[in-house]
């Protein structure tokens, strides 16, 4: 796991090899490898000298950390009440049709995952979604088609 090792070292270089570094390390691995593999979690546990169960416990607690492989671009559509009132279902339907996956699934080429998420804090501009860290608001099916096309053309 040379790559994971580098990512861990990068974060512990800033925080030190103590437990405070755990969440930042997991976030860094998630960002680069799109999920936290068993091997990566064991490696993290060894570095911080804590049990791998502890690492797993932390990893499964947060909705932005995954222990199963996700796509390079993770689409999270807000499903909380105001976005829901503003037709989030149409947005989901559009993405499902474009990517040929259902909510919770990942495309076969591991480029996209489609997930629901709870309130993103854009209720005044709903419906809203995140693609990785980027926010898209006031969505319409047309707007979503353009956005997805743009991402499909990205490497």
């Amino acid at each position: 796991m040379p790559h994971t090792r580098e990512l861990i070292d990068k974060v512990t270089g800033h925080y030190g090899a103590n437990r405070e570094a755990l969440l930042p390390i997991l976030q860094e691995i998630q960002r680069n490898e799109q999920y936290l593999s068993d091997e990566a979690m064991v490696e993290v546990a060894k570095t911080l000298d804590i049990s791998s169960a502890d690492v797993y416990g932390k990893a499964t607690f947060y909705s932005f950390l995954d222990t199963i492989p996700r796509g390079k671009y993770v689409i999270r559509v807000c499903k909380t009440i105001v976005c829901d009132m503003h037709n989030k279902n149409k947005i989901i339907e559009t993405i499902e049709n474009l990517l040929k996956i259902k909510v919770g699934e990942t495309t076969l080429n591991r480029k996209f995952s489609l997930l629901y998420t709870n309130c993103l804090g854009w209720c005044h501009k709903g419906p809203a979604m995140l693609i990785n860290d980027d926010v898209y608001t006031e969505l319409t099916p047309e707007k979503v088609r353009d956005i997805i096309r743009e991402y499909k053309n990205k490497p």
């Binding site: 947060y62 909380t80 009440i81 709870n118 804090g121 005044h124």
Partner: protein
């Protein structure tokens, strides 16, 4: 517009011409005087719970400890709330000034901004402001450093002790209180945790003084407050309004003419039906007549096309997913409430079953470990009691 509905722009208004002038001014004041000003101003936390900010600072200042921390809680996850994002993107300098004054008063040398993962896009510009802030700290001889700590999508981490656990590298599960963080907080050290808006308001009090601040608002709820307004309204957005506004006035201004109910304080707040608009005042619990609602500023407006059953179901799904699962009343309670209203709706259980569910929320209110489980009762009972027929038919 009614008088109290004027946009005050106290919070999102422009900066003072010279950078960090208010911080500088306060760093030469006696610490006790600042605490006294804050207590006199009656400023209460703007995150929703409404604890007196001055007292919090006082306890942390009095607590023994070589290392102390100031934490800015920017884990804004309450449905319908988006004011903290706006503050951090528009006036981060005011937040940092508030943190700096707090650090000076309590004697902290390290601060964190706990930013929810959903707001990661704010990091570059916020970091730039923090770097500049550090320069001014050095100029004014304040030994204080601030770091951004990113969350990863967990509503419960907005609960202050869960937030501490999250930074410490543990699961974001709330701790037992007492001890309170002002005595035993981050890594066991005295810690002040304030909401983003609270820090700005604290800075405002330090700038204009408690008397000016108290001129705004009503008894027990002083000052202005940012309201996040969304739902069925022609003008959603963020408004800086004075406390003490009646819901009637509010709906007349922001409703779409067909308002059926307003959810005040997010999913963990209260749902107020049309017939109670005139007797409801926005503010913390106080001595005024009628219902005064505590609020983190989330105002979601529903018109008559909305099914309140669907609204409640959406909230319960939210709570069920966001419950940390540590304590049984919340973990099982949220699931059972959701199953319960579904069973009543389908006719599997009789309408009277709603009473049993209401008593379950009462149990959760007194037995759940933290605010999440305790406050499920707020929206549940206010929706079930006021829109009973919609739950059944």
């Amino acid at each position: 517009m009614a008088e109290r509905l004027q946009r005050l722009d106290m919070i999102l208004g422009t900066y003072s011409p010279e950078k960090y002038k208010i911080l500088e001014k306060n760093l030469s004041r006696p610490k006790n005087e600042i605490i006294k000003d804050l207590i006199d101003s009656g400023l209460k936390g703007r995150g929703g719970a409404g604890f007196l900010t001055g007292l919090k600072w006082k306890y942390a200042a009095m607590a023994e400890g070589e290392q102390k921390f100031v934490i800015c809680n920017a884990d804004e996850g309450e449905p319908g709330t988006f004011k903290d994002r706006e503050i951090l993107s528009k006036v981060p300098r005011k937040v940092l000034s508030g943190m700096g004054i707090c650090a000076y008063v309590i004697g902290a040398n390290k601060g964190y901004i706990y930013l929810r993962g959903e707001y990661k896009f704010l990091v570059p510009q916020l970091q730039k402001e923090i770097d500049e802030f550090h320069v001014y700290c050095d100029i004014h001889n304040l030994k204080f450093r601030v770091e951004i700590f990113l969350g990863s999508g967990a509503y419960v981490c907005g609960e202050e002790t869960a937030l501490l656990n999250s930074i410490e590298g543990k699961r974001g599960e709330p701790r037992n209180k007492p001890p309170f963080p002002t005595n035993i907080g981050l890594f066991g050290c005295p810690t002040v945790i304030n909401n983003v808006e609270t820090l700005v308001s604290a800075m405002t009090v330090c700038n204009i003084g408690p008397d000016e601040f108290k001129k705004l608002g009503i008894q027990d709820s002083h000052g202005s407050k940012l309201f996040s307004i969304s739902g069925d309204t022609p003008k959603p957005g963020i408004y800086d309004l004075e406390f003490g506004l009646s819901l009637d006035e509010f709906v007349r201004e922001f409703g779409d003419g067909d308002t059926k109910a307003v959810q005040v304080g997010g999913a963990s707040g209260f749902c107020v039906p049309r017939k109670k608009f005139s007797q409801t005042t926005l503010g913390f619990k106080g001595g005024l007549s009628g219902d005064n609602l505590p609020t983190g500023g989330s105002m979601m407006i529903f018109n008559s096309t909305r099914s309140m059953y669907h609204v409640l179901e959406n909230y319960l799904e939210f709570f069920e997913e966001e419950s940390c699962g540590q304590c049984t009343p919340c973990r099982i309670g949220c699931q059972q409430l959701k199953k319960g209203i579904d069973a009543v709706k389908r006719g599997i259980k009789p309408p009277e079953y709603l009473e049993q569910l209401l008593s379950l929320t009462e149990t959760m209110k007194i037995t759940a470990k933290c605010g999440l489980g305790q406050s499920v009762a707020n929206s549940f009972s206010s929706i079930v009691e006021n829109f009973r027929e919609e739950m059944i038919y």
